[in-house]
Structure formats: structure tokens, C-alpha cells
């Protein structure tokens, strides 16, 4: 097939997206308007847990400009409730029944109870204010520990308790093998020279994007329904909306806007709000749009983490961990959310707990409970932010117990032989973890730092270093995604070459800032030997793009880009065959090079034709084609690697802690990554910078707070504190790449897991700085008050002993 001209892959090409985005010409959801569109506003519950006794909508209905007011009771019999199969995982769990609006009772502060459709949003807000709702309060279920108590109030009618999901991840398929594994782990922990147990708690926080959600729908009696939705998975939304609204799928089109203001997982679920928007558009025969406010957003979505882990490890005297026991507990909120149901994040978090460490004996179990909070929705470092924190803190505790350098204990425990399947069944396909970790420790010059630390300590200054690692998903293979989300994992791309030699790429996923237009163009340009400026990428429109399960789990750089490369290769074979035929050469397609806009017979380079004229000949003048060959240059490739794939990164954080106040300053934050073959190093660095800062912000600042009555207190950016530029450091990003053997270009997907190693690295650094005080922090958020308190507690414990 010739050697692809790799000129464009690996280059810091400026992004194709940026001209429109820096000049105010982006087309985000809020910028797309339909003539005559009505505005929908939700009335949301002011209570955490209550029966709905009465809703009086008369005054709202009577207001000028109001087209409709609707409640759950009125809606209930007009459309299907969830769960429906397309957004239900193939995992044994209890899936609560729900409609777009609450029916009978409310289960969290912020749940949609009624909706107004009016001429504009100002009138709709006025009418929403005029709706009177009478509630009868029920006891608030504040967390999993309250939810599991015998006699606890039951959230979901018909359930006998509040447990939504429970799973053991280890020990095999039979009760006997599980019991045997439990016994063995127990024995190892009892007999090991080092055994440590801690209860790790990670608070409720997430990665709220700058653009809130939105949905707009238009019903046309001949074409059917068109919905514009802020979403990471338009094709799944299409299937789900069609089923709920009982519209044939050929009459359902979902369009993710070309530009979306970030997602990070938050726009991946199938949410209840777009259902009502589409329903009302059909019901009223008018376009209807809903633009979420920031307040709604912070009340109802972007909330992740929120796990407790009772983690125990057994280790040898050298620090090699020989057994792990974990009992996880997830607070998943009300669980009413398509695809994820609140528990899928803790599920994957527990599965990923072993990380990149060689932990042959694990006993890992998880229980998830529904509570009177909004359902957990995904956030980058999906589920594993909490388990990464717990495991990384534990590695440092082991190092302290055996009096060894934490970096050395990590090295001792990292996998050196890949591929490997972890005790929880996660397949680690390839890479060189030690190379990545050693690149990191060289970059921070660990030996020198330890000297500086000792010098500083002798002067009463407390410096510390902490580490964290992450073996993260690089795309989500069907083998993982079918059981987990009842969806395929393949990447898909259509490549269409036009008669002028220009190229269109169609992607069914919906990017939200990751730069797909640029990286896909770089790959296609390299494959086809043309310039990226001759390539255009269209995304997220189910009317024009091939099916894909969505922009999730670092699929872009692993699966979708591989489909782009394979589609290009298929078309090149066809073009080369036809050129050989035209030139009357007895040549195979592999004898042709595609470079610099020319297709050239390598053995006789004077025999060549421009890419453009060859494309024109095949499409516009399909005469005298080789036998069996057809006209046209368009191909859709579906890429599925033969095994699940990972990328790997290691983080180090250097801090100085003020022991008198607990305040700390991050002096350095350094990462090393294996992203395989890099397509665009600037975009890779951008992903790391952003992902690390999200992790820092989650660790130090962001926290969703519910008061004793379940009132959500953090629904504005005044109260939900996100990191600003002045709060965070520059991240020193280092590459330590090993090409992935399972993708056509050797690329790996990176992005999803980046925040994961952050809470461990930062907290370990703070604890390392405070080694003289023997401080042991096992709860997040990590704030000066907690550090100060930990110092005080350590001091009084020392005095007491």
C-alpha cells in the first residue's frame, strides 16, 4: 500500500476550529435558533424528599404568552417511562422507573416537577413562578450509610430497600471460588508483615463544563422529529428518544451542535429534560427549546465521585503488595439517569482500583445506594478518581510502613510484563510503565529534591513530593462497553473524496473541544498525501454520520481516528488499482505512493497522476474501470481493536506546606505520558494541562454540599468554587511514549483519565511534607483546615503516647 506520508502526524498544527472560535463565529447550542421557537422552563423541586400533594397551574396557564403548563401526572400516560433497554447496562441492578417530570413524589432538591412552555424565556420564568406546589415532606436520606440502615425511608416506590447495585469483582464465577478467594485474601492480610487499613472518603464533585445543557426540537409531519441536543452521544440519544416517544427511528434525527462548550462526561448520559422538549414540540406543533441555567446545571448534573472505600492491603517487608481487600460504598443520588443510573461510575472505579499495579490477590466488592441527591453523572476520571486516590495514598502508607522511598515502592509494584489482566478483569494491553515512571522521577530529579527537602526541614520549612499513576482506558472496546452500557465500542468514520480531490470526514460522535477536526484532518492528510486544509470534518449529526456510541473514554485518539485511517487506506487501494489499470501496469496497490498531492508508481516514478485528477476520473468519468470495480470514492470504516487498550501516565507534585496554618503551595506539577504515536503534541499537552487542573480543582476546591435537610447549597459559581488561573500551577508535561500495537497508527486515546492520579499525587505530597508530624490524610477535599486539623491531631496523639 506504499508508505503513508506521515508529515502531518506528529506536528503541532494549529487547530482548524480556532478561527471561528476566536472570532465569535462558533455555532453552539445557544446560537442555533428556529423561527417561532417556544421556550421551555422547568419548575424544580424545592424539597429533597416529599410527596407532591397538589400542583396549581391555573395562574400560570392564564398568563399571556404561555402555551402550555405540564405536570408529571398529566404526562405519565402519554409517553414511555425509563428504563428502556438502549440506555440500560447489561449489569444486574435495580433500575428505577421515572418520567421527565416527577410523578407522585420528589427525590432530590432540583428534580423537575412541572414545566412551562411560553413565547420567550422571560415569560416562561414568570409563569413558572406562578405555579404553586404543595409538598408533604418525607425524611431525608442523606448518604449510603443512612440509606442502608434497616427501616430507612425508601426512595423508590416498590423497592424493599435502597440498594441499587452490588457486585463482587474478584474470585471467579462460582460462590465457592469467591469464598476461597476471600479466605485467601483474609489469610494473607492476617499473616503479612505489613497490613494497613483505612477508610478513604472522596466528596461529591465533578467536572462541570462552561456551557450548560440544552435541547431544541422541531416536529415535522413528513420528516419527523429533529432534535438539537448538547450531547456526547447523539446516536444513542436518537435511539432512546425514538423509543420513548414512539417515533420510528427513521423519523428521528439528533444533531449535536458543531461546537459544544465542553462535556467531560457530563453530556454523556441520556437525560430526562430533552425527552420533554421533544414531546412538547410534537404536542404543540411548534419548535420548543430549553436552555439550562447554570443554577439548574449545578443542582442536577456534574456531580460525581462521592465514594467511600474501606481499603486494606497486605505487603511484604520490601513493600511489595501481596493482597488487597476493598469494600466500596457509592452514594449515587436518586439514580434516575439513562445509561449510567448513578452507579456505573463507582462500578468502573472499583474495577480500575488495581490501576497499573501488580496486585495478584484482590477481594473487591462494591455496594451502591440511592439517596435524596441528584443522580451521579459522569466526569472525567470516570469513577476512578476516588479509587485512584485511595490506592495511591495506600502505596505511600506501605512505603512509610517499610521505611522506603514511595517512588521505589511504586516501581516495585508496577507491572513490568504486559499484556496482563488485573484481578478485576481489566485488560492492560501494552506500554512500558517503568519507562513512564522513570521519565517522571528523572524530570523532577528525585534525589536532588530529597536533599533540598532535608535542608528545608532543618530550617523549619516543609517540602514534600507525591506521586500518582493512571492506567486508563484508551477507547472502550465492545468487549467492555456491551456489558457495561449495552452499546458497541467500535469507532466509525466515513471518508468521502470529492471530484476536486477534497475530502470530507463524517464522525458520529460529538466532540466538545478535543480538536477532532484538526487531528482527523492530520491523519487523513498523511494517509492520502494531501494538505489538511483540503479536509473538512462533520460531526454529531445522526442524519449524515455513521453510528458511534459517543465521545467517551478517550475514543477519539484510539478508535475513531483508526477508523479514519482505515477508511483512507481502503480508498487508496481502490484509487491505486484503477490507476494501475489506466497506466496498464501490472502493479499491486502497494506499489503506489500517495504524497504531495500525487499518486506515484514507486518503481517508475514518472508514472503518476495527481490525487485530484485521479479522484475526478473515478467519480466523474467512470468509464473503462477494471472489471468488477465501481465508481465513487466513499467508504465507512468500523474499527475495533482485537483487545481493549490503555494509555498510561504518571504524575508528581511538589508542595510546600505551612505547618502553622495548613496552607500549602504547589511548587511543581510534573507528568509523564504514554499516548503512543502522537498526532498533535500541542493538543496532547492541552489535554494534560486541562485534565490536571480539573483534578486539582476537584481535590482542593470543588464540592457539592447538601445541608441537613438535603438542600443543595452550591448551585452557583459563587458557592461552587472552581479553580481560576491564579489558583493553579503550570504543568510540566513530558512524553514517554510506546506505540500501541493494536491501532493502525500506533496511537492511544488520552484525555478521559487524566485527573485520576491528581488527588493521590497532591495529597501524598502534602503528607510527605508533613512526615515529621506523621500526618495521614484519607479524606477529600484537601483544604488547609483539614490539613491543620490533621497536624493538630497528630501532635496530640504524639503527646498522649
Amino acid at each position: 500500500m506504499g508508505h503513508p506520508d506521515l508529515n502531518w502526524v506528529g506536528r503541532e498544527l494549529n487547530r482548524k476550529e480556532d478561527l471561528r472560535l476566536t472570532t465569535g463565529k462558533g455555532q453552539y447550542f445557544g446560537d442555533i435558533k428556529l423561527q417561532g421557537a417556544l421556550h421551555l422552563v422547568f419548575v424544580r423541586s424545592s424539597r429533597a424528599h416529599a410527596l407532591i400533594k397538589r400542583i396549581d397551574t391555573a395562574a400560570a396557564k392564564a398568563m399571556a404568552g404561555v402555551f402550555a403548563v405540564v405536570t408529571g401526572a398529566e404526562l405519565k400516560d402519554k409517553l414511555k417511562s425509563l428504563p428502556i433497554p438502549v440506555v440500560v447496562p447489561a449489569l444486574p441492578a435495580r433500575y428505577p422507573t421515572f418520567w421527565p417530570l416527577a410523578v407522585g413524589k420528589v427525590k432530590f432538591h432540583g428534580e423537575p416537577v412541572a414545566a412551562v412552555v411560553a413565547k420567550d424565556c422571560y415569560i416562561a420564568e414568570d409563569a413558572a413562578e406562578a405555579i404553586e406546589i404543595e409538598y408533604e415532606d418525607l425524611p431525608y436520606v442523606a448518604g449510603p450509610e443512612e440509606a442502608m440502615k434497616p427501616g430507612a425511608p425508601i426512595l423508590h416506590p416498590g423497592w424493599d430497600d435502597n440498594k441499587i447495585f452490588e457486585l463482587g469483582f474478584t474470585g471467579g464465577a462460582t460462590p465457592e471460588s469467591v469464598a476461597q478467594n476471600e479466605t485467601e485474601v483474609d489469610r494473607l492480610i492476617r499473616e503479612a508483615p505489613v497490613a494497613i487499613k483505612r477508610r478513604f472518603k472522596v466528596h461529591r464533585t465533578g467536572v462541570t463544563p462552561m456551557e450548560p445543557r440544552g435541547a431544541m426540537a422541531n416536529w415535522d409531519p413528513s420528516d419527523g422529529m429533529t432534535c438539537w441536543v448538547t450531547t456526547q452521544r447523539p446516536h444513542i440519544d436518537r435511539l432512546a428518544l425514538a423509543e420513548i416517544l414512539d417515533i420510528p427511528t427513521n423519523q428521528m434525527r439528533v444533531i449535536a451542535p458543531r461546537d459544544q462548550g465542553g462535556g467531560f462526561g457530563v453530556k454523556a448520559p441520556f437525560y430526562r429534560e430533552p425527552i420533554l422538549v421533544a414531546f412538547m414540540a410534537k404536542h404543540l406543533g411548534r419548535p420548543v427549546r430549553w436552555q439550562e441555567t447554570r443554577e439548574e446545571h449545578l443542582m442536577c448534573v456534574s456531580q460525581e465521585r462521592d465514594q467511600i472505600h474501606d481499603l486494606e492491603v497486605a505487603a511484604n517487608k520490601d513493600g511489595k503488595i501481596i493482597a488487597v481487600r476493598d469494600r466500596g460504598l457509592g452514594d449515587v443520588g436518586d439514580g434516575c439517569e439513562g445509561v449510567y443510573w448513578g452507579f456505573l461510575m463507582p462500578f468502573l472505579g472499583s474495577a480500575l482500583l488495581p490501576n497499573g499495579y501488580d496486585l495478584p490477590r484482590c477481594d473487591i466488592k462494591l455496594k451502591c445506594y440511592v439517596t435524596n441527591k441528584s443522580a451521579l453523572s459522569p466526569a472525567r476520571s470516570f469513577g476512578s478518581f476516588a479509587t485512584r486516590f485511595a490506592m495511591e495514598r495506600m502505596v505511600d502508607l506501605v512505603a512509610r510502613a517499610v521505611d522506603k522511598e514511595p517512588a521505589d515502592v511504586r516501581r516495585l509494584n508496577l507491572f513490568t510484563q504486559l499484556p496482563y489482566t488485573t484481578a478485576t478483569g481489566v485488560y492492560l494491553d501494552s506500554g512500558d510503565f517503568l519507562k513512564v515512571f522513570d521519565t517522571l522521577t528523572a524530570k523532577i530529579d528525585l534525589k536532588k529534591f530529597r536533599q533540598e527537602q532535608a535542608d528545608a526541614r532543618s530550617k523549619g520549612r516543609y517540602l514534600g513530593v507525591g506521586f500518582g499513576v493512571g492506567a486508563e482506558l484508551s477507547g472502550v472496546a465492545s468487549a467492555v462497553l456491551v456489558p457495561m452500557e449495552n452499546q458497541p465500542g467500535f469507532g466509525a468514520a466515513t471518508v468521502r473524496i470529492d471530484p476536486r480531490g477534497n475530502v470530507q470526514i463524517f464522525e458520529g460522535d460529538a466532540p466538545l473541544g478535543q480538536g477532532h477536526e484538526t487531528t482527523f484532518a492530520q491523519v487523513a492528510a498523511s494517509e492520502l498525501g494531501i494538505e489538511p486544509e483540503h479536509i473538512t470534518v462533520t460531526t454529531g449529526d445522526t442524519g449524515t454520520t455513521p453510528f458511534g456510541s459517543g465521545t467517551i473514554g478517550a475514543r477519539g485518539g484510539s478508535y475513531t481516528v483508526s477508523a479514519v485511517a482505515n477508511a483512507c487506506r481502503h480508498l487508496k487501494t481502490k484509487m491505486a488499482k484503477i490507476l494501475a489499470h489506466d497506466l496498464k501496469l501490472d502493479a499491486s496497490p502497494a506499489d503506489f505512493d500517495f504524497a504531495s498531492g500525487m499518486v506515484t508508481y514507486r518503481k517508475e516514478p514518472s508514472k503518476q497522476k495527481s490525487f485530484r485528477s485521479l479522484a475526478e476520473r473515478i467519480i466523474m468519468a467512470p468509464l473503462n474501470l477494471p472489471a468488477g470495480e465501481t465508481a465513487g470514492l466513499e467508504y465507512t470504516a468500523f474499527f475495533e481493536a482485537e483487545v481493549p487498550m490503555i494509555c498510561f501516565s504518571a504524575h508528581a507534585c511538589v508542595v510546600e506546606v505551612m505547618a502553622q496554618t495548613g496552607q500549602f503551595k504547589i511548587l511543581r506539577y510534573v507528568t509523564a505520558e504514554d499516548v503512543g504515536k502522537m498526532i498533535n503534541p500541542a493538543i496532547v499537552e492541552g489535554q494534560v494541562q486541562g485534565g490536571v487542573v480539573q483534578g486539582l480543582s476537584n481535590t482542593m476546591f470543588e464540592e457539592f454540599v447538601y445541608d441537613d435537610n438535603g438542600q443543595q447549597l452550591t448551585s452557583t459559581f459563587e458557592s461552587y468554587k472552581m479553580a481560576t488561573a491564579a489558583d493553579v500551577p503550570h504543568v510540566e508535561v513530558t512524553d514517554a511514549c510506546t506505540p500501541c500495537p493494536h491501532t493502525p497508527l500506533g496511537t492511544r486515546g488520552l484525555g478521559e483519565g487524566i485527573p485520576g492520579p491528581v488527588p493521590g499525587a497532591l495529597t501524598n505530597a502534602v503528607c510527605d511534607a508533613l512526615t515529621p508530624f506523621n500526618v495521614d490524610i484519607i479524606e477529600l477535599p484537601l483544604r488547609p483546615n483539614r490539613i491543620w486539623q490533621a497536624i493538630r491531631e497528630a501532635q496530640s496523639a504524639k503527646r498522649a503516647s
Binding site: 476566536t22 472570532t23 447554570r294 492541552g686 459559581f717 488561573a725
Partner: protein
């Protein structure tokens, strides 16, 4: 209740009748159709995505009513550079990969443009503190700081 408002936006005068409670950001986006100015928070002035220039001063257009802009001149992201040209900041943001989703970008560019007029040779620390009124979720800010530094160098030439 409606009131007339006369305002110059990016060099064009608009005379409009608007509800007195209409926010300036809605006026810019919905009445005038300049959608480059974004709304990222619930009109609390924290995210900074709606930042525009009011008589040359960076303001958050979600914190003002349209009628308060009567008789004033506004520049939005669409008017930051003369037609067909790019501002040094726009070029630097592209060159440094200082944006990902781009939702916060307009507000940051408008804020930075005013900042560099006041402080044409800032340190990284000064740039970071100048940005506290703008939230960005994607980039981690580092590339934004580099881009503003580069633009400052370019603008001093």
C-alpha cells in the same frame, strides 16, 4: 414595559425598543444577533464568558440591563479586530492552543485586550491574576497565560 435604547455596537448604531428588564447579554445575542458573547453562569458575573467592552472598559454583559447601555459604545468579540484581520490575541490563542471548546474564549480575549492596554508588559503572575474573572474548564489556563504573554510581546513591537 418597553423602552428605547440607542447603542453603538462594533461601529454600527442600533435603535431598538426593548423590555426594560432585558439583560445586555440577551440584547447582544438575541436582538442584535451577535452570538459570540456567551452565557456560562446564571447571571452572577463569575464565569466571564459574556465579557464585552463598554466605552473601552471590559464589563460583564450579564450584569447590566440593555437600557443601561443607552448612549454608550460596545465592542464585542466580533468587533475586536477590524474586518478581515485578527487581533494579536486571537493569533496568539491559536498559535498557543489556548482554547479547546472555545466557550470561554471570547470573554477571555475581551478581558485580556483591556488588560494589555493597562499593563502592556505583564508577568505571568499578573496575567494569572488578571484572569480570575474568567473561568475556563478545558485548558488549565497555562496555554492562555502563554498566549497573552506572546500577544503582549507582539503588541509592544
Amino acid at each position: 414595559m418597553q423602552q428605547s435604547v440607542s447603542v453603538e455596537i462594533n461601529g454600527i448604531r442600533y435603535d431598538e425598543q426593548v423590555p426594560i428588564r432585558m439583560l445586555l447579554v440577551d440584547f447582544l445575542r438575541d436582538t442584535v444577533g451577535l452570538t459570540g458573547t456567551h452565557v456560562g453562569c446564571t447571571f452572577e458575573g463569575v464565569c466571564g464568558a459574556c465579557t464585552v467592552h463598554l466605552d473601552g472598559e471590559a464589563v460583564k454583559s450579564c450584569m447590566m440591563l440593555a437600557v443601561q447601555a443607552n448612549g454608550r459604545a460596545i465592542t464585542t468579540i466580533e468587533g475586536l479586530a477590524p474586518k478581515g484581520e485578527l487581533h494579536a490575541l486571537q493569533k496568539a490563542f491559536t498559535a498557543r492552543h489556548a482554547l479547546q471548546c472555545g466557550f470561554c474564549t471570547a470573554g477571555i480575549l475581551m478581558n485580556a485586550a483591556e488588560f494589555l492596554k493597562e499593563n502592556p508588559d505583564p508577568t505571568d503572575d499578573e496575567i494569572r491574576h488578571a484572569l480570575v474573572g474568567n473561568l475556563c474548564r478545558c485548558t488549565g489556563y497555562s496555554h492562555i497565560v502563554e498566549a497573552i504573554r506572546d500577544a503582549a510581546v507582539e503588541m509592544r513591537k
